[in-house]
Symmetry: C2
Subunit: 296 residues, 2 copies
Amino acid sequence: MIDIKKVLDEKTEYADNVIKQYLPEEKGLQSVIMDAMNYSVMAGGKRLRPILLMEMALCFNGNADDVKPFMAMMEYIHTYSLVHDDLPAMDNDDFRRGKKTTHKQYGEAIGVLAGDALLNYAFETGISAALAFEDKERALKALSVIAKKAGIYGMIGGQVVDVINDGKEKSKEELDYINEYKTAALIQASMMAGAILAGVTDKRLTEIESAGLDIGLAFQIRDDILDVTSTDTELGKPVHSDEKNNKSTYVNLMGIEKAEEEVRRLSEIAIGRLKNIGIENEFIFELIRKLTYRNK
Amino acid sequence: MIDIKKVLDEKTEYADNVIKQYLPEEKGLQSVIMDAMNYSVMAGGKRLRPILLMEMALCFNGNADDVKPFMAMMEYIHTYSLVHDDLPAMDNDDFRRGKKTTHKQYGEAIGVLAGDALLNYAFETGISAALAFEDKERALKALSVIAKKAGIYGMIGGQVVDVINDGKEKSKEELDYINEYKTAALIQASMMAGAILAGVTDKRLTEIESAGLDIGLAFQIRDDILDVTSTDTELGKPVHSDEKNNKSTYVNLMGIEKAEEEVRRLSEIAIGRLKNIGIENEFIFELIRKLTYRNK
């Protein structure tokens, strides 16, 4: 058995450095925007998406150095979505990961622009990397999956359904829809992009997409559970926010115990799918278990 | 001599159809976002960027059909920037082109998300097109220029400098900086991308970049002039808004007469640059003149 905590700490530090390496220099009359981007990205986080991308590339004998800019790209997209999600017109959150949200720190106009800048910069980073990538068709396929899963048929689509149903009671099917798009899509994109860059077959890619969905849903249910069971300090953001915002979650739909069961069920299905296509990476399996059993 | 009005009307209609062709279908639980994107894009506009992209491709014997998705991409990026620029946290505008702005029509949350969706969808469209493009390296180079000119070293950079200096008096050098990035960058990107897709040489590309800058600056000075000399009905948006918002413009810096002279000077320099690299497209020359002498 691997020491998952130790290995994960090492991988997170590695991902942190990769993400930092591709961030823009703070220069020019517009340097405040680079500052705001860097602030938002370096505020911390689990770096789950870049780690999953790298690990999936390694599973199919990809080159770790070649996928670095794509790892950074995923984290920039994830970060932009948080920056815009925190805006007053959206969730209106003042704190995230124990630090002021971007618009609280820089004002609302720069909050909007920093999100825009991160999304655009994510594509700048990915497109530059594709130009340098030996197999350009493969790199373009990875970019195409990332773009689709980040957009209206992915993350933004889920965000929209969440926003327009704000405060309304939702069925499990509606919650699944929102979470498939809002949370799972970028996890799927990370896993798929890593595998595509390493030259995975289409048949295996379909299984990876399904595993990513299971992981994403399990991850979101865990998030809902933590919102109820944690303290502010543990979570780095206000707890019971779902309740306060009158949000339908898996927890109030099925109760904590059933929600815990569902997390376990989904994560084991995901692990099974990856094993079925020949993956033997113990770290990924333990990571999935840790992610879905995590306490922050 | 060509009948510029007639030809331009035809080209604008062609560009309109291209832009429409690549817009997303309004389907799924998230269909309101497609609706908001389509509303924003089809609100009208001169379609200058797509037309310039296509014409530059034709100047270098590019294939008009192959560049269509890139034309759409440029207009989606331009539109997203307007949607976010109109938000309450930014310019707080209720009308554009005589119609309600996106956040006024759909609410502020969807306003933010529609802008995000258009930027992401622009890249989705461009990346799909690159995958189908015969010379993938060339397509990636075009995408790379577009991404850079749309980002913190381009349009967003200019937007940021404009926002942080809001209400302050600016020198001509500062105004040039803002307008080079905020307005000229996307015009440069359109012209450059069209030429790159058609296989232009690097030396000629540098001249096209310079011509794009001249055109962009001339275009912006004309915009400032129109804000003073037009009526609301002619312009489709409130005039004298610069004055009301206490914005420094070329007009209050140098007076209308000198500003008019500067427009003429810059547009003739741009035309000269294009002629110098062998371009003989009368339509482009007349378009540049029309754009910079336009009255709306």
